[in-house]
């Protein structure tokens, strides 16, 4: 028999997770429309793997799997993995990354609510460190569904006509290869990977993510702190460099629309379990992700920095939370 309060507002973890999944749908739709159906295959693969891994871990720990599988958190992780991995990555990479995310990053820490690292980003980081080449190939323009699915299930790859790099990757490689002469404008003009602002089509995907994120904000599932601070951290770091040397540094807008910036700002960094929770902590945490992302994108070796930046800031979260506790009632003026 329970104690007070005896009345409860209608709310459940499952409802929260379902809303997050719903908020991802516009992004997925635009993604598929631009890059083809490879992503859908990846989503199915990741979801099945995540559920299987979750069920296996729960069974191993002697917990009733039904209730926890229904909470939907594993599916959110799976979808984020599918969205951050290249859509034509071989199936075993998706399966491996998802399994790593669920088993190591989530369940070794006790499962839902206790993981210090964002599981999806841990899965991404492991895979990109292990298979950097495969994890950097994105479908080239107009790749048919059949080819995409073929690539996922083991067809011959490494054809430039089939695969391409992302805009971020292409830009960095372009700038690095001819360090003396290349400029941002030059590289962008020369490669088909670039669209109006950033990568080809990415601005539309970014807009769709933004729409989903605004839905989450409207549903009060996330607060404005993390998305705003992350995007501001990224843009404000990029701004002075771009102003000083636009030939060698991409514009803030390029960074905002490129890669997984908006996905990260609204869906990855806002993971409440591994993210900071105090208002000030959220600002520090998200601004840190933005800053590190810019550094990794600009100077690092990996195509996108969101995953590593998120993991790096995850490390700092307990400390940030500890040091940014808001003042309690009656102690606001330091009494």
């Amino acid at each position: 028999m329970n104690n007070s309060p005896y009345i409860l507002a209608p709310a459940s973890v499952t409802a929260v997770m379902l809303k997050v999944l719903a908020a991802l749908l516009p992004g997925i739709a635009v993604y598929v429309w631009i890059f083809g159906p490879g992503l859908l295959v990846q989503i199915v693969l990741a979801t099945l793997t995540a559920l299987a891994a979750e069920a296996a871990m729960l069974a191993a720990r002697g917990r009733a799997p039904g209730r926890f599988l229904a909470d939907g958190s594993a599916i959110v992780t799976a979808w984020l993995i599918a969205l951050t991995f290249p859509p034509i990555v071989p199936w075993w990479i998706t399966v491996g990354g998802t399994a790593f995310a669920i088993v190591v990053a989530k369940h070794l820490y006790g499962g839902l609510g206790q993981n210090p690292f964002n599981p999806a980003m841990a899965g991404y980081a492991v895979m990109i460190v292990a298979f950097p080449a495969l994890m950097s190939q994105w479908p080239a323009e107009g790749l048919t569904a059949a080819t995409q699915i073929g690539l996922i299930f083991g067809a011959e790859r490494a054809l430039d006509a089939i695969t391409a790099a992302t805009a971020l990757d292409a830009l960095r490689t372009g700038l690095h290869e001819n360090a003396a002469t290349a400029t941002v404008a030059g590289v962008m003009g020369a490669s088909p990977a670039f669209g109006h602002i950033a990568g080809h089509g990415w601005e539309w995907i970014a807009a769709a993510y933004l729409a989903g994120g605004l839905y989450l904000l409207q549903q009060r599932l996330i607060t404005w702190h993390i998305p705003l601070a992350l995007l501001a951290g990224l843009a404000l770091t990029a701004l002075p460099f771009w102003l000083a040397d636009p030939a060698h540094y991409a514009s803030p807008l390029f960074h905002l629309c490129g890669g997984a910036s908006l996905l990260g700002a609204f869906f990855i960094a806002t993971d409440p379990v591994s993210g900071a929770t105090t208002p000030r902590g959220k600002l520090i945490y998200a601004a840190g992700i933005g800053l590190i992302t810019w550094f990794i994108r600009t100077f690092g070796a990996y195509p996108d920095g969101i995953a590593f930046a998120t993991l790096l800031m995850n490390i700092c979260v307990p400390f940030i939370d500890m040091k940014t506790q808001p003042p309690v009632f009656g102690r606001k003026d330091g009494r």
Binding site: Y6, I7, S12, V16, R67, G110, V273, D321
Partner: protein, 560 residues
């Protein structure tokens, strides 16, 4: 006037369905005298009052039957005239279901009141007024039951700015203050005016939530009629827990009173409307606190408010309100902060503001607890600006030190966090658990510190005794040796150790001999002309002594 007043907000809070309409349809009803009154002695914060009556005593209505234990305590009175049957532990309306000391009274049905002299509080000194209120048993009727006389004292450093009368009554279902304000507004206003005269604040604000328009109207009329300067009825937005004293003070004055400080240090004091009424009754009519208004609602056919004498068994109230057959639990207090009653034999106390009958349909059992996902919804609604999920995290892991670092004791257990938690974690239960564990540890710590002090004092004493004894012995042996040397000069010199030990041994032997002789010589005296009862008593004592002696003889086998 009211439109000009600036109201402040407080962080957090929730808006559960108020459910207040049903119990305000009918006026306050009187409840019949029960067969037995069980008047708890411990009804307020502070010491348990000493019983003033013994079984068999006749008491009058309003007669003091328990005297305040020290200043932080309040007296207890007989609710009606009758005979005291027992002064013994009885089951109490407490979540533990444990018994507490109580006076059981069988009413004689006459309900004769003892003589009451109206107290001339205007001419009395403030301390006398406070003592009178303590002896009239007036305590806060909002739920905290803090003795009112202690609160009627202005802060030492700050002059009183605002006296707040709390008529917000934010918890769902509870309407006892609402009905009191509707029906007895004059008494409340007069009580508030008395407190105003005692404390001399600049203004007296009566805060009422905007979902009680009738109470607001009644109180406004009463204030106007009384014509007290500086008194004003202020309508505050309905949001749980706006009726918490600190939250209401915040809403009305913008002042936040931190945990562990007194609001008078900020020039504010807050009383419940029921308390104001009780103070008026005590000071103007000489009537001690023997009854209160109780809302009986929930799964009952006829929810309404009753004026109930303290000590009435709870079962009688549920009968009067006709609890429905599918009721599976009974709750004292509101649905947010109340607790499940272990037994309906428990009596109404001064703290009993509401009784709820619960059914699975009305208060559905919570879905199974899921892990915390740190979503922060609890932090958004916490009126104490805490991070409830952190408190939960540490309380769950039994990490009490960390829980305290995160201000566990600022938690007011309002239940907002549990109310919104999507993982359906009984958060408040974890805080209650952690708090009571910490209190237990603090008790242990205090007793350990006391034990250490006494142990060290004992060691010091033993050391001092040893030194004194050694000094005495040294003096004695020196004297003895001198004597011995004088007496048997040239005799075989005994080793000084033996010389010292032997007389000691002899002394003990002699003492034991004396004791034995005494014991054997101990003859019973004055045994002539005894009654049979006395004879029986003596033989019983003899038997005990014999038993003790036998046990003493068998002490070779010490019990392990």
């Amino acid at each position: 006037m009211n439109a000009l007043r600036k109201l402040f907000g407080f962080h957090g809070g929730v808006k559960p369905a108020p459910n207040k309409d049903l119990s305000t349809r009918e006026p306050i009803a009187q409840i019949a005298l029960p067969e037995r009154f069980v008047v708890p002695l411990h009804q307020s914060v502070g010491g348990t009052p000493r019983p003033l009556v013994a079984p068999g005593a006749q008491v009058q209505k309003g007669q003091r039957i328990g005297a305040a234990d020290g200043n932080v305590s309040a007296a207890v009175h007989a609710p009606t005239s009758g005979t005291v049957l027992a002064v013994e532990p009885r089951i109490m309306a407490h979540p533990s279901g444990l018994a507490g000391p109580a006076v059981v009274i069988a009413p004689d049905g006459l309900d004769t009141a003892c003589e009451r002299d109206p107290f001339l509080w205007r001419s009395a000194k403030p301390d006398e007024v406070r003592d009178f209120l303590r002896d009239a048993g007036v305590v806060g009727l909002g739920g905290a039951v803090f003795p009112s006389h202690l609160k009627l004292r202005a802060g030492r450093e700050h002059p009183m700015q605002t006296l707040v009368i709390n008529g917000a009554e934010c918890e769902p279902f509870i309407t006892c203050d609402d009905m009191l304000m509707r029906e007895r507004a004059t008494g409340i206003v007069r009580g508030a005016a008395i407190m105003g005269e005692l404390m001399q604040p600049r203004e007296v604000l009566i805060g009422i939530e905007d979902n009680k328009p009738q109470a607001v109207a009644a109180m406004r009329a009463a204030v106007q009629a009384a014509g007290v300067r500086g008194m004003e009825v202020v309508v505050v937005p309905t949001r749980y827990p706006a009726g918490g004293a600190k939250q209401l003070i915040r809403v009305l004055t913008g002042i936040e009173v931190p945990h562990g400080t007194r609001s008078t240090d900020f020039g504010v004091q807050c009383f419940n409307t029921g308390t104001a009424y009780a103070i008026w009754q005590a000071l103007e009519q000489g009537m001690p606190l023997i009854s209160r208004i109780v809302t009986v609602a929930g799964n009952v056919a006829r929810p309404r408010n009753f004026e109930v004498r303290i000590g009435t068994p709870l079962a009688q109230l549920f009968e009067a309100a006709q609890a429905l057959p599918d009721t599976e639990r009974y709750i004292m207090g509101g649905p947010m902060m109340g607790f499940r009653l272990p037994d309906l034999a428990a009596p109404v106390q001064k703290a009993t503001n509401c009784l709820l009958a619960g059914s699975p349909a009305l208060f559905p059992p919570p879905p199974p607890e899921m892990p915390c996902i740190r979503c922060g919804d609890c932090a958004k609604v916490c009126p104490a600006d805490l991070q409830p999920f952190e408190l939960y995290w540490f309380a769950r892991a039994h990490n009490y030190g960390k829980a305290q670092e995160y201000s566990l004791f600022d938690c007011i257990e309002c239940g907002c966090c549990s109310y919104v938690c999507p993982s359906r974690i009984p958060l408040v239960d974890y805080y209650r658990y952690a708090k009571s564990e910490i209190w237990a540890r603090e008790r242990d710590k205090a007793s350990a510190d006391g034990a250490r002090t006494r142990y060290e004092a004992r060691l010091a004493r033993a050391e001092r005794d040893k030194l004194e004894k050694a000094a005495k012995l040294a003096a004695k042996t020196a004297a003895g040796r001198q004597k011995a040397e004088q007496a048997m000069a040239g005799g075989a010199a005994a080793a000084p150790g033996e010389a010292a030990a032997d007389p000691k041994k002899a002394l003990i032997e002699a003492a034991m001999e004396r004791a034995r002789a005494q014991r054997e010589a101990a003859q019973p005296k004055n045994v002539e002309g005894l009654s049979a009862a006395q004879q029986a008593e003596i033989s019983k004592a003899e038997a005990r002594r014999e038993l003790a002696r036998q046990m003493a003889d068998n002490k070779e086998v010490p019990p392990e």
